[in-house]
């Protein structure tokens, strides 16, 4: 670009319009890619954990959720490996922070739950307490994830995403509170199968919510490009 100081008012406006358009396009592309990678990484991780749970017939594989931030970080680093770093903007940062808060709350509660389990089983040998205290349940994950999706909808000014978030949060919370998935499975299969679904069902739900809350908005933003 030349350093022309005698440009016309029309040319000035054209430069402003072109630069703002370019910058916004790049920011949108970068936000869309980050959302897609985070969503796809979550879905792949859910599938992996779900399959391991079914194969090993135990819920120990859920410990792999702690690797989730590392997997997403590697994915984002891989995405930006050869490209010129795109600028940061408030929308992208806000969406990122909403999901960061969600991940921190859920993983911290999950860590507390594991510590509580360790305390009950190994230290005081009181299995009864395990049944009464549920620090992190599927309905709480649904509620938090629904809120994160609705907030993302507000930030991105997407009505359908806002409503998806509300429906997911309230609908998911009510369905889980009344044990509808368990009753449905128990009715169609057996109580044993339904009981075992506690190990893999959260993976299916997280994958579904990651698709609605991260992959779909990512694709929508990519479409807007």
């Amino acid at each position: 670009m030349e350093d022309n100081k005698n440009m016309s008012a029309e040319r000035s406006l054209e430069i402003i319009r072109e630069s703002i358009e370019k910058s916004q396009k790049d920011v949108t592309r970068s936000t869309a890619r980050s959302m897609l990678i985070s969503g796809l990484a979550t879905i792949v991780m859910s599938a992996l954990i779900g399959i391991i749970c079914v194969c090993t017939k135990s819920g120990t594989a859920h410990l792999l959720w702690f690797l989730m931030p590392i997997v997403i970080w590697i994915g984002l680093r891989w995405q930006n490996r050869n490209s010129v770093p795109t600028p940061k903007n408030y929308v992208g940062m806000l969406v990122g922070k909403v999901w960061k808060v969600f991940a921190i709350v859920v993983l911290t509660l999950f860590a507390c739950q594991i510590l509580w389990l360790f305390f009950c089983v190994r230290i005081v040998n009181d299995i009864q307490s395990l049944e009464t205290v549920h620090l992190l349940s599927t309905q709480l994950i649904l509620l938090l994830m629904g809120c994160a999706i609705a907030t993302t909808g507000y930030v991105l000014r997407s009505s359908w995403l806002k409503w998806c978030g509300f429906i997911c949060a309230i609908g998911g919370y009510l369905l889980e509170s009344y044990d509808v998935p368990f009753q449905f499975l128990a009715h169609h299969t057996s109580y044993q199968t339904a009981g075992f679904s506690n190990a893999w069902m959260p993976c299916v739900i997280v994958a579904l919510f990651a698709f609605v809350g991260l992959v779909l908005p990512g694709l929508t933003l990519k479409g807007k490009e």
Binding site: S12, I15, S19, V84, K88
Partner: protein, 94 residues
Amino acid sequence: MFQPLDPLLHSELRLSIMSLLISAEEAEFPYIKEQTGATAGNLSVQVDKLSAAGYIEVEKTFKGKRPCTICRITPAGLKAFEDYVEALKSYLKV
């Protein structure tokens, strides 16, 4: 009556830098270089001019072992840009 245009902003490259920074919170030097198509030397001179005027803030840091220059617009830069666009309107009779 035509309003005077800020001479610091009334230059293709500096106006382009300011316009890129206006819609982003911050941008790295290689990104601005790629978008404006300017040479590193020329861009560096214009960035220094904008920084000296207090229109942008330049942060020199490291990304791993590589030096990294981050530019962001300041409130004074934002005000100057708004005034510039207002002044442009008088030329275009908007």
